[in-house]
Amino acid sequence: MLNYVLIPLLPLAAFAVNILFSNAIGRRAHLIALPAVAGSFLLSVYALIGVQAGTIINQDIYSWIVSGSFKASIGFLIDQLTVVMLIVVTSISLLVHIYSVGYMHDDDGYARFFSYLSLFTFSMLMLVMSNNLLQLYFGWEAVGLCSYLLIGFWYEKKSAADAGKKAFIVNRFGDFGFALGILLIFVSLGSVHYADIFSGVGALQGRTINIAGFNFDLITLIALLLFCGAVGKSAQMPLHVWLPDAMEGPTPVSALIHAATMVTAGVFMIARFNPVFTLSDTAMAVVAIVGASTSLFAATIALVQNDIKRIIAYSTVSQLGYMVLACGVGAFGAGVFHLFTHAYFKALLFLGAGSVMHAMAGNVDIQKMGGLKKYMPATYWTFLLASLSIAGVPGFAGFFSKDEILWLAYNNGALGKVLWASGTLVAALTAFYSFRIIFLAFHGKFRGTAEEEHHLHESPKVITIPLILLAVGAVSAGWIGIPAAFGGANHFAEFLAPVVGHSAVTASHTEEMMVVALSIAAALGGIGMAYLFYSVKPCAPLILAGMFRKVYRLLWNKYYIDEIYDAILVRPSKWAASYLLVRVTDGRIIEGIVNGVPSMIKAFGDRLRKLQSGNLQHYAFGMVAGLFVILTVIFIAVSR
């Protein structure tokens, strides 16, 4: 058991040491953080071996919150799904740690950065290893916190601080639903432990729940509420707005948190709760549609952006949409598979972008780059491999996972066909914008200033080595899941099957070939278009933008989602707070009453005070009048 406990505990220890002694440690922070993460990685590999040998662990460490019938533990569930996540998290985390040694080298907050990274790794591991919902929620919020801290790492920049805050608050909207989902699960099943939930959820089928006079299907409601959490964390529409802004953080953070691990927690959660989701067709349809529309929507935005990190960020949103789509069509295994491959190539893309930014002195505008290929070959080649992978060029990791999702979507009835079509379109778009970066940034002539050109250089080894290692993953990660149609055995899906089950396949191998062919065509078409637009005829994009000015504007401004939220949520609540509540309710009504009663009494007293003229005889009048009254009363009383 100890080896499992140590997986999250090592990073936690590293965090504690680094944060408590940050002053003393300073530049040596990585000496503590790196071995810890490496240790976690090795233990994860050990866990993988154990699981492959059939050791599934589901054990409580201690009771966390106990109250009446409510009981939540800190405990670990180590099964196939967990192990996959463990490998992804620890391996990427390790590489990012190494990368950061070089990337953050000159930063004042070196120790702080590493402590946050360690804390994040710990939280993420707690999340994936959890055996109950509440611990999952703990990890869920803790990774959100780390994300907040790391996005706002350069807190002196207002935009960074804003972005961190935005990420946290937008996520809280999702978590709100997630928390309600947890509550609803407890209320209807009496437990928050996975085992109890999965064994008991079947009995809830057909039950409805009455809320405010409306009847809801209980399972659908639970599934949708849980999905809310995923929407927030995995940046699905309409809560995707925080992820592009999160790029204000240091690039290693973007790679680790906002590409490879944290944002995929939503997908992980849906996959983990597949027994619940599969019981509700409505929920599944919603999940699939949200995923598909997010992927399409984000891909279109990515087409026109110029900030290299933002493009990759939208691409992340889009790819996450893919994974969610996969879950929505019941292909949980495929979703996790894509999660797995995506982690490598997307982390690579980000780290490559970081390397580029390193050379460009922090400039992120791809229009100002060009011809970087000859200055930084290692970065270029790894970046190219990652782009090929994400575009879905056959043989690369992205191809296999994406293809599996499309194929399984195709199998999922009429709705599946639509989703598949949209997915294929997204594949083309993805290829296009990925290669847009390649052609604009690495090919052609350098478009920046001479001074900048002089500064261009390849990044140090500590940066390029993680890139190369990740490139290996980006190319080969898919090979463990080669589908049967290509003569493979799809080991990955088989491995996960005990947790997430098999997807039903109804269509024939011929159709599968057709699907594959179409997706390859889409990928190559996208790359070709990018080549045409940005290498052969560089003026074409401008002409297009001019022709479809409105569309271009819409995409450039990201469909004005941020502005809409600002108008319907942020400003009204600030207005309500500052005007309605402070001035009217608190100021006028409540304080009006509170201060009004005493001031009424005071006004009355002021009037009454006039009676106290100070003239002796006026008081005497009162006395005599009183005497008269008393006499009268006595007289009347006596004479009666």
Partner: protein, 100 residues
């Protein structure tokens, strides 16, 4: 024989006049005299009762009333002197320090 009620009525009238004097005069001195007037009116009725009820208690009480009246006059006049010395006014409507 003069009926008892006549004495009481007389006492009441003098009492009332004393009261009026106290209420309407501005001069503190006259007000003090009005108080004496009222005390005397009470004495009249007390003695009248004493006579008609054939009991000396009423007269004993009158004795005490006179004592108090003397004390009151002494103190009252002393205050009056102090007042006249400090404020050089003797008119009640000019002494309104206690105005609220």
């Amino acid at each position: 024989m003069v009926p008892l009620s006549w004495y009481i009525c007389l006492s009441a009238v003098i009492f009332g006049i004393g009261g009026i004097g106290f209420l309407v005069r501005r001069n503190v001195l006259i007000m003090l005299m009005s108080v004496e007037l009222m005390l005397n009116s009470v004495n009249i009725s007390l003695i009248a009762f004493s006579h008609y009820l054939q009991d000396l208690k009423g007269q004993v009480l009158v004795f005490f009333v006179i004592t108090v009246a003397a004390a009151e006059a002494a103190i009252g006049l002393a205050i009056l002197v102090a007042l006249a010395r400090n404020k050089s006014v003797l008119h009640t409507d000019e002494i309104t320090e206690m105005k609220g």
